[in-house]
């Protein structure tokens, strides 16, 4: 989502070693994501899904937002097709990310094939913070591998805990899911996306009582007409956000 590529200038020496602040930041992100992963596992299982569903998704899909979106659609009563589409729409942002870290992944298959699987908001953000290619590689791989391990362990732990929790509503866990998503998306709301998101939310809400679960969220994409019209109306290419 918000990539926070601050473009910090830093001595771009040949060394590929990460400084202590970067390592600390990566650790903090892993900690936060462990919490998200654990809630993903717990919410999925306590919502009625078998344990293997969140675990398989975490290993094979490895994209937190899409996992939450797909499971959210299913738990709301939507079909698997709507869940897959919602997840894929969220993951389209990985397409430009892939272009952004193409130089980091290089062209050797042994690095490219596993490396592509661990392209996430976080690993891309850490890679883009570095200017020198060696450091970009170090930051990307450190964050990506750490996150893959932490995320999957946390999901398994959360799923195990979810089996023990009988009444998730009493613990308020159902509110944790939208709260997680809100924390992810709020920093990306800008003057450009805000109106489109608002229109989309209104359309989704209005449609909720009438169409089958899972569809309202997809219908929200009509909100994008505001972005498209606005970009088309601007004399210069939109660079504001």
């Amino acid at each position: 989502m918000d990539m926070r590529s601050t473009g910090r200038t830093r001595g771009s020496g040949p060394t590929a070693l990460l400084d202590r602040a970067t390592v600390r930041d990566i650790a903090l992100v892993c900690l936060a994501d462990a919490l998200v992963g654990a809630s993903f596992g717990a919410i999925s299982v306590s919502g009625g899904l078998p344990v293997w569903v969140p675990v398989a998704m975490s290993v094979l899909v490895f994209a937190g937002g899409a996992q939450f979106a797909a499971v959210g659609v299913v738990l709301a009563g939507g079909g698997p097709a709507a869940a897959v589409v919602a997840g894929l729409v969220l993951n389209t942002r990985l397409l430009p990310f892939g272009f952004a870290v193409a130089d980091v992944l290089g062209s050797r298959w042994s690095a490219l094939l596993p490396g592509a699987h661990v392209v996430t908001d976080e690993s891309v953000a850490f890679a883009l913070r570095e200017s020198d290619v060696g450091r970009r590689r170090a930051a990307f791989w450190t964050c990506a591998v750490a996150l893959f391990l932490v995320w999957n362990v946390a999901v398994v732990a959360g799923a195990a805990a979810g089996r023990l929790i009988s009444d998730t509503d009493a613990l308020g866990l159902d509110a944790a899911f939208p709260a997680v998503l809100l924390a992810l998306v709020l920093p990306s709301l800008t003057r450009r996306t805000g109106p489109a998101a608002a229109l989309g939310a209104v359309v989704a809400l209005a449609a909720t009582p009438f169409v089958s679960p899972g569809l309202p969220v997809l219908l929200a994409l009509v909100g994008l007409v505001l972005v498209v019209r606005r970009t088309a109306a601007e004399p210069t290419p939109a660079g504001e956000s």
Partner: protein, 102 residues
């Protein structure tokens, strides 16, 4: 959630990830398309937040959840750390329910 659906999602996601590294020597994404893709993700996420905050399936979710999500929004806006936001949202929903408000 059948296993086949997870596989489709996984394969599609992997394709989106690897397309850039495979293609970047030949072409780059037009900036307009890049922007539209990230805007689509934002619009979808916001709709997901709003609908899952106020609705359970096709029915209203009651008061506890929207109140909790609203509080989470304020905390995010005030730049509270992520764990605080999540725990506060869950605790608020639980607290409101404990008070007997559905």
């Amino acid at each position: 959630m059948p296993f086949a659906a997870i596989v489709v999602l996984a394969v599609g996601t992997y394709a989106l990830r690897i397309a850039g590294p495979l293609a970047h020597h030949r072409f780059t994404l037009p900036p307009r398309l890049q922007e539209l893709l990230s805007d689509a993700a934002v619009v979808l996420l916001v709709a997901l937040v709003v609908t899952s905050a106020v609705a359970a399936g096709q029915h209203p979710a009651g008061w506890a959840r929207p109140v909790a999500v609203l509080l989470a929004g304020v905390l995010v806006w005030r730049r509270a750390p992520f764990p605080v936001v999540v725990v506060a949202a869950a605790a608020t929903a639980a607290g409101v329910r404990l008070l007997g408000v559905a």
